[in-house]
Every structure is written in C-alpha cells, then in structure tokens.
Symmetry: D2
C-alpha cells in the first residue's frame, strides 16, 4: 500500500494538492447504516477553514464538501464514501517567485530529492490543505464512534510558552476564543504572544491535547497495532508534528513504578465486577490495549516555517541567497490543527474498534448465529 492510505479495516485514501483543482478523500470499510450528511462533515471542515481570525492565512476558501458516493437515503451503504472539496482561491502567482529556491523548514528540498521536480505552487501535497481529506474522513469516524457513545475532544494545551492551567481548565472556553484554548486567561496571554511574534515577522508553535471518552476496554492489538502505536503514527503523520505523548509521556520516564502504576479497584456492590483504575497515568492504554479509562495524549507542533523575517537558503542549483517569504501564511497553525488531531484520533480508534470485533470466537459465533 502506498503512503496515501491509512487504516486496516476502516481506511481513508487522501489525495490532492494545494494548488490543483480539488482535494479529497475516499473512506472505505465504513459499516452500513450510519446516518451521514454533507452538513455533518461540513461542521468539521469549518473548524479548520482558513480566514477565521487574524491568526490564520487570508486565503479565502469555502471548503464546501460534496459527498459523491457511499451514502443513500441519508445513511452509509457500506461502500466507499468519496468526498471532494474544490480549491477556489489558489493564487499560484504568489508562489511563482519561490520556484527557484528551497524554503527552510518546508518539504521543497526533500520532495525535489525524492521525485526529481519541484511543485512550487505552495507546498503541493505537503500543504496544510492535504488535511482537508483527513478531517472529512475523521468526521465519518467520529459519527461512527458517536453511535457507540464514544466522544473525541481535542483542544490547544499551549501556544509558545503559554500553557493552559489545570485550575482554570474549562472546555466550554474553547469555543469562545480564537485559539481553541480551554482557559480564557491563557488564551488572552497567547493572543498577546502571537501579536508580538507577528510584529517580529516570526511564527509560533504549540501543543494539542486530545481525550477519547467512552472507548470500551479491549481496543488495540497487542504488538505492532497497539492503540498507542496507531495513534502515534496517525498523529505524527500530520505535517508539523514533532512529538507525541500518551498519558504521563516523557514525565513517566522520571517516575518510579510505584508512582506511575495505576491501582485497580472494583465498584461497590452490587456492581463489584465493574473494575476500574483509581488513577490514569497510563492514559487509558495498557499493553497497547484500551483499559476502559479515558485515552489521553498530546502532540507537539513546530512553529509555522513560513515567516516574513529574513532567512538564508539555496536555489535548486546550489546558489546561496537570502529570502523573506511573502504569500498568505498562518503565524500559528495550532488552532486549526486541533480538529485535524481530533479527526486522526477518531479514525485510528474507529479502525481498531472494528478490528477488535473478531478477537474472540464466541463473538464470531454470536454474530453468525444472529445471521441464521
């Protein structure tokens, strides 16, 4: 399988370049019978749409999704769901000047070395617009998970040096500020920080946190398809992600076993058989399999590489020069990346959730008995 397909049972195949006619995705392996509409998908796409605040690119795109297959009379049919978004405001001319050199922090150089040519129209396949397909596919996965009462929620945990504080954490705040931060005060500080960086013609990075609530125990496969490994791949495949942590993450490396282990406990009678963990240092995953607690992970995003400040680079033929990138760019991509993290997490979890259904012979028997 080539690199544009993700998943084993529930798969997505994304396609499209920043400056081609359209971008899109094909979702295959989705069970039949899930209510789905363009409106449901659009709500997710609108969260990553450009032009929502002064912190995002001024490129103007409606990003209106069209469902081309796999839905009949308002429900999924079990066959591939093809979704398409036309590119409208491509402005290739803005990029024509960069045809000759490699932008630092971008994939211009590595694509050229790999494929032997340069698509100078704004990143081509490594543009942020590639994530449109991911978000549309993730919306389908989120709908599937929603049918089972599972909910995926991501938010901005930090921007540059400004981090959300536990004591002020309020998820409802996310929708009220432009940075998707669940802490009004941190959001205000982060906005001030971003203004400062923009004035300096510079950019910023940040951390996105994500929680999957309601995932039953048993999801994830023991070795290479651990839930943790699958989330790691799904999240680290998003452009600009440089780090990933499950539960305590790097903090766990400095803890002792007695600090980091989560004790098991049983519910009060008459529910004594309800087993749960008293703490969740593990982030909801033991041995790569969900343990019934909340799944909790973080992703580190690097600062936007396109900056107006002066930088040194070279041309395709190896001549050194000094550049200053104009075009339309986000000084921070983190707020728009929140929904991308949510989408990838939903998709990875849904794929393993389906795969878990064949883990036991008694379930296989029950399924086919029902079929008779």
């Amino acid at each position: 399988m080539s690199g544009s397909t993700y998943g084993k049972i529930l798969t997505m195949t994304t396609w499209g370049e920043s400056h081609g006619p359209a971008v899109g995705v094909v979702v295959d392996g989705c069970p039949a019978g899930i209510p789905l509409s363009e409106e449901m998908i659009q709500r997710y796409l609108d969260r990553r749409k450009p032009g929502q605040s002064r912190f995002t690119t001024k490129r103007s795109e409606a990003d209106a999704v069209e469902i081309l297959s796999g839905v009949f009379e308002g429900k999924t049919t079990g066959t591939p769901i093809s979704m398409l978004v036309r590119n409208q405001d491509q402005h290739s001319r803005d990029y024509s000047e960069i045809a000759g050199y490699y932008r630092p922090g971008h994939a211009d150089y590595t694509f050229d070395r790999k494929y032997g040519f340069q698509d100078y129209r704004g990143g081509g396949r490594s543009s942020g617009r590639e994530t449109i397909g991911r978000v549309a596919a993730g919306a389908v996965a989120a709908r599937l998970l929603g049918e089972l009462g599972i909910r995926v929620t991501a938010y901005t945990r930090s921007i540059g040096p400004v981090e959300v504080r536990k004591e002020r954490f309020d998820l409802a705040e996310c929708g009220k500020n432009r940075l998707y931060m669940p802490d009004a005060e941190a959001a205000a500080q982060a906005e001030a920080y971003l203004e400062e960086k923009m004035a300096e013609r510079d950019s910023a990075g940040g951390v996105v946190e994500c929680v999957i609530a309601g995932l039953p125990a048993g999801v994830g496969d023991p070795v290479f398809d651990k839930l943790s490994a699958s989330l790691a791949r799904a999240i680290c495949s998003i452009g600009a992600v440089k780090g990933f942590e499950i539960g305590e993450g790097f903090r766990a490396a400095a803890m002792t076993g007695s600090q980091n282990n989560d004790a098991f406990a049983a519910g009060d009678p008459p529910c004594a058989r309800t087993i749960y963990k008293k703490t969740n240092h593990a982030g909801g995953i033991l041995g790569g399999i969900s343990d019934g607690s909340e799944i909790r992970f973080c992703a580190a995003f690097k600062p936007t590489p396109s900056i107006a400040a002066s930088q040194q680079t070279v041309t395709r033929d190896g001549k050194e020069l000094e550049i200053s990138i104009k075009g339309r760019h986000d000084p921070i991509i983190v707020p728009r990346a929140v929904v991308v993290v949510e989408a990838m997490a939903a998709f990875a979890a849904a794929d393993l959730l389906l795969s878990n259904m064949t883990a036991r012979m008694d379930a296989v028997k029950a399924f086919y008995a029902f079929e008779e």
Copy 2:
C-alpha cells in the same frame, strides 16, 4: 493484516509467548545477496539478553538464534528469513500465584477483556520476550543498511532524573557501563539511583535516544507513511514506550519559526551543488522525508510495572486485594531496550528506503534497462 506484522515491502511477523516453547520472527521482502549469519544476529540478541547485570532479571536464557530459512551459502536468498529462539528457563510456577488477579501497569486486565482469558504465565504475548523477534529482524535490517553505509545507533539518554550531559557525551562509554549511557559520570549516578530504588522495592524509567547516520535524502512517503510517522509507530509499538520526539520534539512547540527553521547552505566549489542544513532542529526530516542530515529521535520508557512494593488491585471476579510481585524482574528495562529501539528504527528506515526506489520513472527505466 493482523497486528503481528510490521512493514510494507520489508516485513517482519513476530510470534511467541514468554512461557511457550519458543519465540521468533519471519522477515519477508529482504533483497537477495546480503551476507547474513547466525553470529551477526546473535550479537544483537546478546545486547538484550537477560542476566547481564544486577539491574536485569535473573531469568537465565541463552537466547541462541537459529536461522531456519532464507539464507543459502551465507547470503540472503530473497525469500522469507525465519528465525527462532527457544525459551529455556520458563519457571511458570513463579507466576502461578498471579493467575487470579490483574497486575497494575500490566496488560493482564486488557488481554482478559479483549480475548476472554488470562495467560498468567508472565505476560504471555505482552512480555518483554516478544522483542526478541524484533531484535533479530532489526539485525537483518541493520545489515541491509550497513551495505549502504547507513548506521543506526541508540543509547540511554536518561534514567529516572539522571540525564547524560552534552559536554561529557562519549559514545565509546556506552559499551563500558551496564546502562548503555554515553557519559561515565551520569552512568555512575544512575547506578546509584537504581540501587536506591531497588532497596525501596521500586523501579525506574528513562529515555532512549537514537541516531540514524548516512540515510540519503528522499526516504519516507509524504502523507501517512512519513518517516517520522513510521518511526513513531515502530517505536511506540515497543511495550512501555509512552512518548516519542523527532528533532527538537516538544521543545519545538515553544520555539519560534526563526529559531526552529534550519537554514540551507551549499558546499564550497567545486561541490556547490552539495546542499546541506546548517542546523538540525528538524531531526533530519522535512515533510516526512529524510533531508540528508542525521535522523535523531527519543523514546520515553515508563518504569517497570512489576515491583516488589505493596500495591492494590482486584481479582478477575472483582475482589480487591493487596499484592507484592515476586518473580524475576528488571528494576529498569531501559538498558535492554536500547537495542530494541535500534532494531525498530533500522527496520522502519530500511522498509521506507526500499519503498523509495519506485518513486521516479527514471529510476524504474534505469533498473529495467540494466536488466536487458
């Protein structure tokens, strides 16, 4: 594909439980003509073998590998390489007492929820012995990379609170201390820290760092099979890994674009066309594709969950109880995990290196012209 196979072109399929008769791996897709012997594989396995110091389990295993296929007259044949290691010192009796309860921090509970039974013989498939197959497969991949002058090197970067210092960094030190730390002073401090934790019947975690040197530019696919995403999955699929960072990792999230971008430069005439990066904040990956610099990443390992100190847990039928785990366990797994990280990194890189060969039509033409 089920969860015990890793890779697209170069694949490994691992099998085996801690207390079954053997563990092993099948490597498929390895090019024909690479010199390979049991001695080469054994050198890698010896680095993860138990019983090398007082910081590792006292389980005594020779871990002698047998190559059963895929090698003829000292060279790989292009067909699957099957490798097997017999378990010798299983001591299932040591584990019999745990048949009834779930060990905190272990996969007992999640396996039971997923598969409907409990393999109480020391972790079964989620035991550290599962990594024997990975290391044997990684040794094959390292041999393949070696033919191209590519070298993968991992070491212990920190144990508990003790971290290697840049100014004392000396790779040669790794082989001289029991903790694979490239800093003699840090190693001594870490040993003292571990003695203390052992006295407290507790355990410790740490961070492993890994460098891939000599990887050409162009390796990695743009979207879901980014080199970074593949390494993230490969590394996070190792039991006990809770975090992963490429290049600056989480530090990048707090940097600005002008700090984090790596400027490109060109070599002096007459090599002006040799393009390189002046710094390597990116860890050698741009847009998911290797950029010709060293690939550099870190993995956080949680402390060993098996501790002799008292812990609270529940039985399979939901009765709470207090336990203290005896058996033979490592107070720290990090030193033995170093070679596992190296193995998985080598395998992930080799797989993408092979996949990169079909990226351009001119290479396809050159290959088949040569064939005529």
Copy 3:
C-alpha cells in the same frame, strides 16, 4: 485494507455507484515523471463507454474524465492521481419497480444480506459502472508500462458458441467490428448469434483473451503474489467473470509433462546468453514469475443476467413472483469488458513490476549509488 483498494505499491481505490453523482478512482504509488493527460485516459474510457453499438445499453454517458490531482505540467508527480467521471443519465425511475424484488443473477440479494438494505437504483456498487475507475487506473498503468516498451492487448476470443479461429486471426480486425474480435468471419457469425438471442429476449456470454508483450523476466513474487495469482485475483474481481486460465489452462490438466514443458534454448552466437523458451504452454509464467515470453491468459464472462424474458424470483419478504427486466441493458458485456481486462492486467503487472525492483541488494546499491 477494505475491498475497494487493489495493489501493493501501485494501488487503485475505486468508488462510486451506478446512480450516485459520480464514479472515480485514486491511483497511488505511481512513479513521478510519466507523461499523462485526460486525453490519454479518455481513449481507454471511450472503449468501454455505453451506446457504441446496438449490442450495448442505450444509457447515454459521455464518461468524460477529469484529473483532479497528481499531474503537474503534463507529468505525474508521484502523489495520488484522483480521477472522476460524473454520472449524467441515471434514469433512476427505470429501476424503481425493482425496489421490491431480487433480480436473478444479480447481487441484489447478496448485498441485502450483507449490508441490510437494497440500493434498487441499478446495481449500485455492483453495476458495470464501477469498472470506470478500473479503466482509468489501468490507463495510467498502461502508460507506465508503455514507457518500458511493454504492451497489453486484449480481445474477444469467443461469444456464445462462436470462437475466433487461429488461421483467420488478425488483430487489426478488432477495431473494425463492434465485438472486438480479431477475426472478421467469427465477428459476423457472433453478430448473427447475438441478434438471435436479442430476438429471444435473452443474452450471451463469452471469453476475453489477453496478451502482455515485452514484460521482462523476474516479475511476480514466489508465493502468494505470483504473477499468475495476482492476475487471477485482478481478473476474477471483474463482475461476471467465472473462469480464468493461464497458458494452456484447463487443457494442461490433460497433457503430459513432456507435452506441456517448454524447452529452453539459447540464441545464436554472439547472443548465446539470450535464453528463451521454444514453446509457451506456460503462458509466460514459471513458478509464478514472468519468464520473458508473452504472458497469455483468458477470462470467461457469464451471459448478462438482465434479460427481458420472464424469470421467477422472490420479493424481499419472500413472496414468489414472475418478472421481466426492462431498463437498458447490454445483451452481451464482453466487447465492453475487453478494455476492463486490459486495464486490470496492466495494473497487476505494473504493481509487480515495481515490486520486483527491490528483489536484489545489488539493485538497491546501484540505485543509492546513483543517488549520491
């Protein structure tokens, strides 16, 4: 991977229903640098387009393809090639009457059993329109093969009881008759046979033969991905195919070893090293790997199941009834299926051709030496 994706390195993911807004395909893993245009693709699609003769459905579709990604300045970029064809003449009303019952020989019943609902709009995903994606993808593969001098050619070998005769075989005839038969006399007889069947409100089947010329030796993997096994899967995945033969096929079962073995011979000096087979009973494949001779295989197509003659069937709730299918249907699908066979063969061969490039370490070394 779910069932709408074919291939390992070169992949196609098809999508779309007969009566949805569009059908299409995403081709991934195609090397960069291959000249490609909508015109090239269109030539293939035009060969399967309805309405070309009185033997094909009267549904009127331009089947105009749009390339949405993966091509830049007239060449493939190495990223996914998304291609789309809008459905125009859907006429769902023609099918509304069949909403309640299962058509014999169609997938109505099996889809309902699998997915729990019935897409009564003309076959949905199991309609012949699903092959549009295959043909567009096959056109890309044929272009790739063409760059290497490899040519895939299919034609109608028989229709009902009328078979092409060896002594009259003339490939140039294919383009001159409506049935793609390389034998003018057989074509005339077959047309007469079809007229007769149409008058009887019945339908006919036939056999398509396919030849791949110029494929170098070494293509195909030894065990499950044999060239023969891959072609078998690719061809038998076309709706209506009920049989597949390589070389002598079922005739080989009645031959002896001395009759069926192909003797090897060497070219005349100075080309003594040019080894070839004197005969080609094997159809160009030994041990699942191409042997340098022509690849030659046949596919049997069942008669079109939609017939106007009266048939017995049942409704969804198990009531028996007699039906006569109206709508617009082909009395024979074989002539339109010729290009579908060609497309699938080209795709299967191209995928294995790319995969063969990593079979030897000396080729890997040569590739990366070239890269320096």
Copy 4:
C-alpha cells in the same frame, strides 16, 4: 506486504525451502477460544505427506508439526500461531547435478533472473514443500469454520483424460483409493493411465474440485475482495495451478442468460422468508458475495514438470544440452494437492467471513452492547 503473507484479518505467513532445516507458517488474527492441537493439524498434513503410494515421491518425511505459540490450555489465544515442520530427508546430493542448468517447467530460470542466483537444492522456495505451511494454516481455518458448521471438501475430479462421472459420484470413495477420486471406476482407470505414463517416463496433470458447504450469505466484499477473486488468488497461488473456475466457469461463457441465471424461490410456510436458489450455476457467489448456496470451484493442475524422459534445455551460461531428471518425483501431484486446495479455500473463506462482521453498524452496536 511482501509475497509470503496471505490474508487481511486472518493472515498466514509461510516460510522455508525444500532443502533448508525446516518449513513453517505463522497464522495471525485467529480468534481466541478455538480448540486446537497438534493432532488436529497433523491429520491435514498427513494427507499431503509424501510416500503414501507409488504415485508419490519416495522422499521420506514424517512431516510432524510442532505448535510453538498461540495455543494455551488447548485453545487458541488470539495471538500468532507459529507452526514448524523439520525437513529430514533432504538428499541435497540428488540435486547437485542440476546446479548448472535450468529444468524445463520449473522456476529455476525465473528465480535466477529475479534474485541473481540459483538454489539448486530441489526447487528451494518453489518446491511443493512450501505447501506444508499452507496446509497447517488451512487446518486452523478449517477448525474455525467447523465451529460455525461450515465444511470444506476437495477431491480429484480428473486425472489426465479420466474424469469422475456424476452418476457414479460417491464422496466416501475418496478415502478408499490413492487418488482421492470420488468414483471407484474412474480411480481404477486413472491408476492404469498413470502406470502407463510412468512406464513412458512421463507425468500427468488433473483437476481438483472443491465445495464449501454451510457458508452463510454475505461473505465476500463487493469489488477487489470478492469471494470469487479471493479464491482465485488463493488457488492460483498454488504452484502448478493453471486454471480456475467458479460454478459453471468457462461453460457459462457459452450459455445464455436464461440458462445460466438461478431463479430465486422461498421456503414453504411458515419459513416463507427462507430464500434460496433453485439451481446453482453461479457456484454460490453473486456479485462476489456468497449467496447461501454451496460454493463450488475447480482448479486445473499442470503435469509434474520433473520427468525422466529426455528434454532439451540450457545451462546458466547459455549452453544447450539434453537432460533427464532423476531425483525423487511424483508422476502426478494432484492427489497430494487436494488437501492444499482445501486448505487455501478454507483460509480464504475464513478471512472474508471475519471481515464480513464489520459490514453493518447494527452488528457493531450489538457487539459493543454485549461488551458492556
């Protein structure tokens, strides 16, 4: 995925050469809780073991299987099942003479072209011994199917020109003759035919037929993973198979729609909802999905290429010579191939049967509701 792995959810990875130390297989994705023992597997292996009659090679192998993982307390655990058979009677010396030339009808030449060397020890990976892994894996799949009342049965349908007659068909006869033919008279004729061919130092081929009974409707995916396409690939991946037919196969190509369509009917009250087909020309598959009837298919095997009669061939350096193959060879492989066909059919069906469980959201909901 490289070519030694078959399957999507239930996978097998085979390994081993004819003259290496052992051959084997790893089965992954098998549900937990299926009773399994070495005895169950051995019964299948004994059916393909050499030395059972004068029509099979005199190579003497016990072919005793060892289960190395994935079974605990007599049941599958859900983790990989590794199975191994040691080679005992390798006799490499018998083959040493063929080191220098290419045997007609064998893979010597194509392996050499692909991998750049020749494993002259009796076929290496393309030897019939490769099928040991397939049969062991198929035995696991057959056990899984057995739990659901599904039964796979193959037998010899023809040998050379001698075919089983419908009116004498008696499955019980298979076990009574050395050729696994369900017709005592045909078996006697076939034995006489084989004696004749052996006297002529020649060999014979034949056809194996296979029936899967009890498979529920709904198994198979609509496009590339059709049940028919999967069986075609599975069966055509067996060495020596040159043709494959589902249901009427090539006969369907000469039938009309009214002859070939199977009418649907409903059971008598009170079972009116039980829908069935009155005939089974389709071989139990409509639109690539099982329809609840028996699955019925045939495979054509070419005559054994190793013959003692004189043949022309060339050496590695292109010198022509005349050879006569000694060694120990089967004059017919069909009787021993019967269980290989059965194994591959069981495996292909079991894989798609598991995959079918995620086709509908209501089943997903039912599974996870049960889990609460």
